[in-house]
């Protein structure tokens, strides 16, 4: 499938972060060469070198954009990283537009020994925006965990969280049945991300059975609804902690604390989970 290919699943590595090295490197090099052309006007060809570096930077930026759009579209809509990703993309589009204009302005003055002020200024702005954008892109990986461990998952990940409610204020310790109609349509290895009165959980189908367990890994709280399944184990995409979905027990570190699990039942022909109202705890 084309989407899997552009997400780099066959390589076990996302493509977009591989390609972005090139625009970042070449556009910074181009700016440095501009500055050198001002400092050493006697050195020949610096303006021309800067133009070629910029050209390569823009071409590779356009190449990197393609898997970037695919990665962006695959982030869950209510993921806390989605807004950062939108800013990252917007900044990158601005950077490409600025450098497109920059290239056009330079193309007629390649033989000069010092760069003109207008293209230099455009490069300065471009590098500023590119740095901000690159930083946000890094935060998407290192803070938000976007694309981390994604290649381990064979089925699509949830695009949204399903918000449900018990419908009334349950007393402490009271167990309520909440029907989750979408769960029936899950295929093996697929998951739902469900929030029932603030309790966030993953519902997964494994070997034709449905299981429900807490969404957040107990190590660094990675998203188990984006995890992969090995027998009855769910593996966290981030640091590969494993849990038995039937009991919630840790089967593989670094996590040490078991998952909360929820009973899945069919009542009156409807699939749902049993959820117990807990004491409100301060954590």
């Amino acid at each position: 499938m084309l989407k899997d290919l552009l997400e780099g699943k066959p390589l076990w590595h996302p493509i977009h972060p591989m390609l972005v090295h090139f625009p970042i490197g070449f556009l910074v090099l181009s700016f440095l060469l501009d500055l050198f052309s001002l400092a050493f006007p006697e050195a020949p060809n610096l303006v021309r070198c800067s133009f070629y570096a910029m050209l390569l930077g823009v071409v590779t930026a356009l190449l990197a954009a393609v898997p970037g759009f695919v990665d962006y579209s695959d982030i869950r809509h209510d993921h806390p990283g989605k807004a950062i990703a939108t800013r990252h993309m917007t900044l990158n589009l601005m950077v490409v537009a600025i450098y497109g204009l920059n290239l056009w302005l330079r193309s007629s003055a390649l033989t000069e020994s010092q760069i003109n002020l207008v293209p230099l200024f455009l490069s300065f702005i471009g590098i500023g925006l590119l740095s901000a954008s690159g930083y946000l892109g890094g935060r998407l990986v290192y803070d938000e965990g976007i694309a981390v461990g994604r290649h381990k998952r064979k089925t699509p990940t949830p695009q949204d969280t399903l918000h449900l409610s018990t419908g009334y204020a349950a007393k402490d310790g009271e167990t309520t049945f909440v029907s989750v109609p979408n769960a029936e349509h899950l295929r093996n290895g697929e998951t739902l991300r469900v929030e029932i009165d603030k309790q966030v959980m993953t519902i997964a189908r494994i070997e034709n059975e449905l299981y429900a367990f807490q969404e957040f890994c107990t190590h660094r709280f990675g998203p188990l609804s984006e995890g992969s399944f090995h027998g009855h184990n769910v593996q966290c995409p981030w640091h590969n902690s494993g849990f038995d979905v039937r009991t919630g027990k840790v089967t593989n570190g670094p996590a040490k604390v078991d998952l909360k699990t929820f009973k899945v039942e069919t009542r009156d022909g409807q699939v749902g989970v049993l959820i117990t109202k807990e004491h409100d705890q301060k954590t």
């Binding site: 076990w12 590595h13 972060p17 591989m18 090295h21 090139f22 970042i24 490197g25 070449f26 910074v28 090099l29 440095l32 060469l33 020949p44 060809n45 021309r48 070198c49 070629y52 570096a53 390569l56 806390p80 690159g134 890094g138 935060r139 990986v141 290192y142 803070d143 938000e144 965990g145 694309a147 981390v148 461990g149 994604r150 290649h151 381990k152 929030e195 603030k198 309790q199 966030v200 807490q214 969404e215 957040f216 107990t218 190590h219 660094r220 709280f221 990675g222 995409p237 981030w238 640091h239 590969n240 919630g248 670094p254 996590a255 604390v257 078991d258 998952l259 909360k260 807990e278 954590t283």
Partner: protein, 178 residues
């Protein structure tokens, strides 16, 4: 010592430093190979020869800066983890690549001002160096995308809050660094 280590880990920036700095050699050295090849074509003439030379220097400068940040990140990985070994290979390959491009640069030093094309031996060094670099960079990427090195290291408090709000079982507050 600790403030220095925290600085090299990128805590002040909220982003690990090594993957930022690694962008530069990773772009410059394959770029040098591209410019070397274009100079043979002949496209750009001496401009390509010079561009390749500048790219190698810029890459070397950034690689020297990236090395200590990488070393600090690697020293934070436990020895029994698979990522430790990958990090060792990543580091060894990077050392080889850096040496290759240092030699490469030295070979060009005399000729880059005048030459209209890059000689065979530096061209070959660029090609071999680029090949090893790609392997090494892939391993570096695997450390992040397969084993989650540096992932949620600085954001774990934020995620903990989200998990707590989402009714999750949580580990005890004081987690050992890993």
């Amino acid at each position: 010592m600790k403030p220095l280590l925290d600085f090299l880990k990128g805590k002040w920036l909220g982003h690990p430093l090594h993957p930022i700095l690694a962008h530069v050699p990773m772009a410059m050295w394959p770029g040098a190979l591209i410019f070397d090849l274009l100079s043979q074509c002949p496209i750009g003439g001496n401009a390509m020869v010079r561009l390749s030379f500048y790219a190698i220097i810029f890459g070397l400068a950034a690689a020297l800066l990236a090395a200590p940040t990488g070393l600090v990140d690697w020293s934070g990985i436990k020895k029994e983890k698979p990522a430790w070994k990958i990090g060792l290979y990543h580091m060894s390959l990077n050392l080889i690549v850096t040496l290759l491009f240092a030699v490469n640069l030295a070979l060009r030093w005399q000729t880059f001002r005048e030459a209209s094309e890059v000689d065979r031996i530096p061209l070959l060094l660029s090609a071999v160096g680029t090949l090893i670099l790609i392997c090494s960079a892939y391993l570096g990427g695997r450390m992040v995308y397969e084993y989650g090195i540096s992932v949620a290291r600085m954001s774990k408090k934020k995620w903990r809050k989200l998990a707590a709000a989402g009714g999750a079982n949580l580990p005890p507050e004081k987690e050992k660094p890993c």
